[in-house]
């Protein structure tokens, strides 16, 4: 699904969620090659000019999530939880840690030891970043979320300094785990339910 379309869908769901018309949602999508720049982004972290990206078939979007620049593309699982945190903990820090925990649990199902790096957001394996997180909150309703590299073509990251960090990026495949996308999604959904359940009244939907 194109980034713009996913963004519009999220926005519509967020509005519905704010009006309590729908329960919490968990969208899972895959984007074509896209580079997005967060609100706090620095254009110097985009290493290629926009016309270079265009020629490489990479879309570019400014967006309203937290964090700096990142890449989305095939082989990546992008999760967008639309949750009303008032029904959870009213704690954005705990929310981000919980998303990390979901990913760490899922990675461990594939024999990978995901870790947090103090002072940074995301999930890392052996010092390389395997999942990025960027969130937007409006009246305690979340949007955007995380991107987990399953078999992402990491060469696209050459166009950016991911999230402004001069650190390595990796994927499950690069770490030796040739998991199928659907398998990983299933584990993420299971752990999402476990990590959030008690407080989360909604059901999990993924499409």
């Amino acid at each position: 699904m194109g980034y713009g379309e996913a963004f519009e869908r999220q926005r519509a769901l967020v509005e519905q969620r704010k009006r309590a018309e729908i329960p919490d949602q968990f969208l899972i999508v895959e984007h074509p090659p896209t580079i997005t720049m967060g609100r706090n982004g620095h254009m110097e972290n985009l290493l290629a000019r926009e016309e270079v990206l265009e020629r490489a078939g990479v879309a570019f979007h400014h967006t309203d999530r937290g964090g700096d620049i990142t890449y989305h593309g095939p082989g990546q699982i992008v999760g967008y939880p639309i949750l009303d945190l008032r029904e959870w903990k009213r704690d954005v820090g705990a929310y981000v840690r919980a998303i990390e925990q979901v990913i760490i649990h899922a990675l461990s199902d594939f024999g990978l030891a995901g870790e947090r790096v103090h002072g940074m957001t995301g999930v890392w394996v052996d010092g390389a970043k395997v999942a990025a997180i960027g969130v937007h909150i409006s009246r305690w309703v979340t949007s955007h979320g995380f991107a987990l590299n399953v078999s992402t073509d990491l060469s696209y990251f050459q166009y950016i300094v991911p999230c402004g960090l001069v650190k390595r990026v990796t994927s499950m495949a690069a770490l030796g785990v040739m998991a199928r996308r659907q398998e990983v999604i299933e584990r993420l959904v299971v752990h999402f339910g476990r990590v959030f359940d008690f407080e989360m009244a909604g059901e999990l939907v993924y499409d």
Partner: protein, 454 residues
Amino acid sequence: MTDVVMPQMGESIVEGTLTKWLKKAGDHVERDEPLFEISTDKVDTEIPSPAAGTLREVLVEEGKTVGINTVVARIDEAGGNGAGAAAPAAKPAAAPPPQPAQAQAPAPPAPAAEAAPPPAVQAPSPGPPPQAPAPAPDSERAEPAGPLSPLVRKMARENNIDLSQVKGTGAGGRITKQDLEAHVAQQQAPRAPSPAPPAQKPAAAPTPPAQAPPAYVPPAAPSSAKVRVEPMSTMRQKIAEHMVMSQRTSAHVTTIHRVDMTNVAKVRDRQKADFQTRYGLSLTYLPFVVRATVEALRTYPIVNASIEGTNILYYNEINIGIAVALENGLIVPVIRTADEKNVLGLQRAIVDLAARARSRQLKPDEVQGGTFSITNFGSYGSMMATPVINQPQVAILGVGAVTKEPVVIADAIAIRSMCYISLTFDHRLIDGALADQFTAKVKSVLESWSEEVL
């Protein structure tokens, strides 16, 4: 006047960066209309206005980071506060779409407020903003009875956690959900943070592609004109250099053991089809050999080491290089922390690394940092060989082809799946007895294979 404060975004958040004002001083805002945005820890949050009125003062500029509850702006409620009559139209916050004109609309109420400072003096104590970002007590804290919330009890039960082992960081030392999560994470990723530095060492040292059957050194070209000259590829030159360097560096000795692979063959035959359907991978002998080698390396750590001057470097990680033949050369991609992978994980890693090695998609760090290497010349039909050590490692294991052979067992002849494994070791560091103990360990793990692979 209503103070607008940096909201409390959760227990763990003590400050936030004001990233953007969505209104400017003098603008009219409706209650709950997004007023500014803050950023905390990769989360951007729109903060709604706590009141309707005129944004009178902006006290914190964009880009500044301030603690929670810091006053960032003041809103003139224009007759809100029950003062009644004063300013009419602006008050019914919900109803009329805000007057579009930016600085003009508030004009009428504005002077009123300025002219009447007393209300402004009354108002400044209004405590927390009424709506959304109220520092609502965490549900766990609010719960009065018992030191544990039901959530915590449930999580402990589900994850089989002994709560006496968990340190509480909540109010009064209570155990919160985060504490349990941290505890669980810690237990699940026990070896993860194992010190990288030792493993990094070999990376720093030159670890070019290496080993495999000794290179054939061509004699000087015959003077006949029937010669085609072709420059060596860079990879070929590197391999040549490395092979000779290795032979010059280490005192190569090879020991060969015969291994009865019948148990492994049975497991493999039984699980092959399921393995294929479930994981989309064919199950080969190699991950079993890697697994057995990991066991032996754990038992004999000196084989997972390097020599540096007169020191022995023992590696805390087991990173196993797997020799992959390429069209015109070979490369040794590394399975990192191979000791943390089971047969499935190893098979995945082998298939992936080999495929990407052949399509030249390996990244530089994937061919560095190996602490031991394995070469599977059996896949080309070789029975036994004496590989060259991949410097700066001190040994390399070679695996021959698995074939069915007549074998004498308890004075009877049986048909068993047999193969030869060879260990080339650096006699500077490893003596024959230890090399044979190591190889015998690999052999015994394979012969008495008991681990499930699915």
